[in-house]
Symmetry: C2
Subunit: 274 residues, 2 copies
């Protein structure tokens, strides 16, 4: 099988395993981390996808997210993919483009389109590898993420509302086609076409069904004003009468310490629906 | 004041701050991280020292220890020093010697003695900087650590039993003069003299008063057999009728995931005495 275990840890009685595999969609070797709860009573287990932000790998959340105790209590599995293809000869000169910065889209432009097919990887190739690794898998999924990964969670969740039963995000980019990080990435990956089909605010406007959504944003987040401002997304949610809880938390910043503080609340939110 | 704030995060309502300062004892610029609980009822706050293991800085525990929620609940401050002086021109060719590997001793041998005075730094210089940063400081202290930092906690705690009211360690090196990492370090820092005054097992044998001690060791720890074996230390504790709880935890390894899982128990242990 195209799946090599490269690390495994016992944590709060649960198992966290890191794998390496070759992703055909991406023409790239990839890693991912899977958390499986202890599940002493052999119940069914649902799956939450975690998507990380710019510069991250699958290990930022696994090492710094402080989710393990709560995910074990909620008896959910968590899949943490890497944030982009790796190790290939494309532009890596910028921290906010290419490696670590896929924005979870399918690129149409050279030199990215050969490898940067993260949307297809996450929605088609990776699930087929992950589902069989979950004992007693319930078939129920939801999705969450941070910053660029918050954009990924909202965009992927809203494009697939029949599949993802809840969406949550920490400090997400909600309207990338209107903010600098997103504009830079979309121009590189998509050229001048098709931005709206990858923008969370547009996806929300176009959605026929909208899963329940929870967003937590720190008021001391250094990226809030320029990159993460929520007006358009919240307006689109209101226009749709969507089930969105958007909470500002005073004094919290863009770091994993904010995620650690509120991850229990997010996992309980997800667990209601999966 | 010789103290520059370089990072601050709100986490579980508490504040975690990273500082830089020039350490006269070490002739070196140093960093440390201080966790202060939210303390809404303005109670007195006691201080726990955390010492990290080989290759670590002050940020390994602060980012991966998952202690913040529990330290806040126990209303204790945690000081996380770096593990060695930095940035000077001494041997850094080995991962288990010099930078990141001080063993918390005062070196007597060249080229280390100019900078590697970590014992004096931790017991004399750093406390004078840290105490004034703790509002309502109770004056009560205890000490804990991991691996090489577990050795540091046991050794420093046992040499200063009137000061440190409890000691705990995860996977500590308990008898460094008899195990390879410790022998390599002691030979480099101390030459052929004075090893017993820095070895936790010898310190325990020589101690007139022994604080209560808790040690947690994972049974799947890859360093256990060669570096961390406890027979001599446990025998010395028995001979002394010391208050030592030595617990083996099945399936847990040498990583921070083990610390994360059992840190709440360790903090509750300390809180009984401080």
């Amino acid at each position: 099988m195209n799946l090599e275990q490269i690390e495994q840890h016992l944590v709060f009685g649960a198992k966290q395993t890191r794998y390496r595999h070759y992703a055909n969609t991406l023409n790239s070797e990839m890693t991912f981390t899977l958390f499986l709860p202890e599940n002493p009573n052999d119940q069914v287990i649902s799956l939450i996808w975690w998507l990380s932000g710019l510069t991250c790998t699958d290990q930022n959340f696994s090492q710094k997210g402080q989710f393990q105790r709560y995910a074990n209590e909620q008896n959910v599995a968590i899949i943490m993919p890497d944030t982009s293809p790796r190790g290939e000869a494309h532009d890596v000169s910028d921290w906010d483009l290419a490696q670590g910065a896929s924005f979870y889209v399918d690129a149409t432009q050279d030199p990215y389109r050969e490898h940067y097919q993260m949307y297809t990887y996450l929605t088609e190739e990776l699930p087929e590898l992950v589902y069989p690794l979950i004992p007693n898998y319930s078939g129920k999924e939801s999705i969450m993420g941070h910053s660029m990964g918050g954009h990924g969670a909202l965009m992927i969740g809203l494009k697939n509302p029949e599949r993802f039963m809840a969406i949550s995000a920490f400090a997400p980019i909600t309207n990338p086609s209107q903010t600098p990080w997103g504009q830079k990435a979309f121009e590189a990956y998509l050229g001048d076409k098709d931005w709206t089909s990858w923008d969370a605010t547009s996806c929300l406007t176009q959605a026929t069904v909208v899963p329940p959504m929870l967003i937590t944003q720190g008021s001391a987040d250094e990226f809030y004003e320029v990159q993460l401002e929520e007006t358009n997304f919240v307006s689109a949610a209101k226009a749709k009468e969507a089930n969105l809880t958007y909470q500002k938390v005073a004094g919290y910043d863009h770091s994993y310490y904010t995620i650690a503080t509120f991850i229990e609340e997010h996992l309980k939110f997800h667990k209601q629906y999966i």
